[in-house]
């Protein structure tokens, strides 16, 4: 089983996300995360899917997805040739005494404090998944009240693999 990051360019039509996620569920493919957003050209949406499977399954996934009428382009974002980022928002229960400790850890990770209340903090952190996992594990001594992660978005490095529309 390998983990792979796929990048799709699709027509920005209604229901396109459901067609793609439907294909994954119907054929039994895994989705670890999926993110979608409109591109600079509003006719297209870029979707980043993190999936896993053996080589044969990953090959089938690519072919089956490419076959969907709305899909313009699909390519794999290889770790060595791409940049991935994920955003996480973490709400930590903090008493007045605990607050400085959490802020110190957040500073090391260049995370931002985006909300403070008398007994909690919301931390915003961007990075690759390892960084986010590492940060979360450092918060083990505290109580995480809520956690929201976006799943990764990614782009290939340089101009070689750009799909011109």
């Amino acid at each position: 089983m390998h983990r792979k990051v796929l990048q799709l360019l699709v027509d920005n039509t209604s229901g396109v996300l459901s067609r793609i996620s439907g294909l994954f569920s119907r054929r039994g493919y895994n989705i670890e995360s999926i993110t979608a957003g409109v591109t600079a050209d509003p006719r297209y949406t870029r979707i980043t899917i993190v999936t896993s499977g053996d080589d044969e399954i990953l090959d089938q996934i690519k072919k089956q997805v490419a076959k969907l009428v709305d899909v313009r382009d699909i390519k794999e974002l290889k770790p060595s040739e791409s940049v991935y980022r994920e955003l996480a928002m973490i709400k930590v229960k903090t008493s007045a005494e605990q607050r400085q400790g959490v802020i110190a850890v957040a500073d090391i990770f260049r995370a931002k404090i985006v909300d403070v209340s008398k007994d909690s903090l919301i931390i915003e952190l961007t990075g690759n998944q390892d960084k986010i996992e590492a940060f979360i594990s450092l918060l083990e001594g505290y109580e995480i009240l809520e956690l929201a992660r976006t799943g990764i978005a990614g782009l290939g490095r340089g101009t070689e693999n750009v799909t011109y529309l």
Binding site: G15, R19, G22, R43, D59, K63, A66, V69, D70
Partner: protein, 537 residues
């Protein structure tokens, strides 16, 4: 002009002659507008059969058949027909009426999320939200359905969109789809590789699937096989690519196929699969077809190549284009010995049957029937034991053999035969079904009568769901469950009720004359053959 008028104009622009369907309020604007057109409407008796009839029409005419049904239950009833077409890559255009778009999602009367429900059985679907989009959507729908790997496309049109005024109507000349561009032409390098291997091969074989018929490439394939003396076998959907008695044809492969066809495929050193999915019924052990041989897989759908088996030489493209390109390459090859071996297999490995003389022998009957049928006749086989006997015994000359291979939908033959007969009224069209599959579609006898579609129907009657009974015989040691069809109607009386000619055959005695009389009828005729309930395929 309103949306409904535009929908009809689009169908006219696509040269649609028939629309199969069933009305309801949500599709009434369309059925009102169609009165102003020369397009003929066929009121089918249940919506599933609208899709089957459209499928039959498509398969003999090459043009996508059209069906139009109402929202809610009308739309959901048609799903099995759509799924059947999807499994066999048959292009269809299914128009569904929908509730008023302002009410969508509020569970009003006869609302069903049909685009959502058919998502996994269509090539594409549209929910039309603006009447001005109708010309573009219809143009795209016909193009998508009938290009690349073909398949059904559904267009869901809310009633207010059908009634909305259009600024102007212009049917687009061309489609402009940014994302959909199927590969039809084979890659030149891959074609050279195939030719290189064919020149080296000692025991080459071509396995033709339904894709060859869908791309209308029979002539090209036949000419290629004849020129280089390459033997051909076929899948169930590929029956008819070669005439059954063609010297280079070695039958259908698969667990219900000819033993000599399977043996030929297994012993080959170069297997060219074309327009075939390597599906479980044709190739039960995909590993075997790559063992000690080179597999060339030609398909217009890149996702089929490598799905069930890895090909040494993948070749994506439309069969017609690929055989045209292959015909341009010249090479020499020699495999007389291989052909002699296969001829011996064919002559000696036919399965022996031991028919009960008290009944009609379905295998022999189908052979006799098809031998007497016209050269270009259309034979539609249903699903069940009848389908297996039909595949094994039907002798294709230069006509067509239609059946549902992928989905195996009972009740397909009568509506499909009706659609085919409307498309080619001058050709003989015969539907062959069992008494189970007949009863799934017998309501269409009324449609045949109303619209004067003279289909010839054979019912192989054994008062059982024979295929399942056979399975229970082998798997559950003759413990039969829910397969007894006693209580079925007297078909003679039924035929009388529908003003149909009726004939019955109890044994093979007089079969030849009965078949002759049956085929000579100009009107619809039903021939019941009483077969042995204990017979096995």
């Amino acid at each position: 002009m309103i949306g409904a008028d535009a929908m009809v104009k689009c169908l006219e622009a696509e040269n649609v002659e028939y629309v199969f369907g069933y009305p309801g309020v949500a599709i009434c604007p369309f059925y009102n507008s169609i009165l102003e057109s020369d397009i003929q409407t066929i009121l089918i008796r249940t919506e599933q059969n609208a899709a089957h009839a459209a499928s039959g029409l498509t398969r003999v005419s090459g043009k996508p058949g059209v069906c139009a049904v109402t929202s809610g239950p009308g739309a959901t009833n048609v799903i099995t027909g759509i799924a059947t077409a999807f499994a066999d890559s048959i292009p269809l255009i299914c128009i569904t009426g929908q509730v008023d778009s302002s009410l969508l999602g509020s569970d009003v009367f006869q609302e069903a999320d049909i685009t959502g429900a058919v998502e996994s059985f269509v090539k594409y679907s549209y929910l039309v939200k603006d009447a001005n989009e109708i010309p573009r959507i219809f143009k795209e729908a016909f193009y998508i359905a009938n290009s690349g790997r073909k398949g059904p496309v559904l267009i869901d049109v809310p009633i207010d969109v059908q009634n909305a005024p259009l600024r102007d109507f212009a049917y687009p000349e061309a489609v402009n789809l940014r994302t959909y561009k199927p590969t039809v032409k084979g890659h030149a390098v891959q074609i050279k590789k195939v030719v290189g291997e064919l020149a080296k091969a000692k025991r080459p074989i071509i396995c033709a699937g339904g894709g060859v018929l869908l791309s209308d490439a029979e002539k090209e394939l036949r000419a290629f096989a004849e020129e280089y003396k390459i033997p051909v076998v076929s899948t169930m959907m590929g029956i008819g690519v070669m005439p059954t008695r063609h010297p280079m044809y070695y039958g259908m492969v698969g667990n219900n196929g000819k033993p000599y066809a399977n043996r030929a495929m297994n012993e080959s050193d170069l297997l060219v699969m074309v327009g075939a999915r390597v599906a479980d019924r044709a190739v039960s052990q995909p590993d075997l077809i790559t063992e000690n041989k080179i597999l060339v897989h030609i398909d217009v759908d890149p996702a089929e190549i490598g799905k069930n088996v890895g090909a040494a030489i993948p070749l994506v493209g439309d069969a017609k284009h690929i055989f045209a390109d292959l015909a341009k390459e010249k090479f020499t090859c020699e495999h007389t010995e291989w052909i002699e071996t296969l001829n011996e297999y064919r002559a000696t490995m036919e399965r022996k049957r031991d028919p009960n003389p008290e009944y009609v022998d379905p295998a022999e009957f189908i052979r006799m029937l098809s031998e007497q049928m016209a050269d270009d006749a259309v034979y539609v086989a249903d699903v069940g034991q009848n389908q297996i006997w039909s595949c094994a015994c039907h002798v294709v000359k230069n006509g067509r053999f239609l059946t549902t291979g992928g989905m195996g939908t009972m009740g397909y033959s009568i509506p499909a035969a009706m659609g085919a007969k409307l498309a080619v009224p001058d050709r003989q069209v015969v539907a062959v079904c069992g008494d189970g599959s007949f009863q799934m579609s017998m309501m269409e006898l009324a449609t045949m009568r109303q619209f004067n579609v003279p289909v010839k129907i054979i019912v192989l009657k054994n008062n059982y769901l024979g295929m399942v009974r056979q399975y229970q015989h082998f798997t559950y040691a003759d413990k039969y469950s829910v397969v007894d069809l006693s209580g079925s109607p007297d078909l003679e009386k039924l035929a009388m009720a529908y003003d149909m000619k009726f004939m019955r055959l109890h044994t093979m005695e007089g079969a030849q004359d009965a078949i002759e009389a049956f085929l000579a009828q100009d009107e619809s005729v039903l021939l019941e053959c009483i077969i042995d309930p204990t017979d096995l395929v």
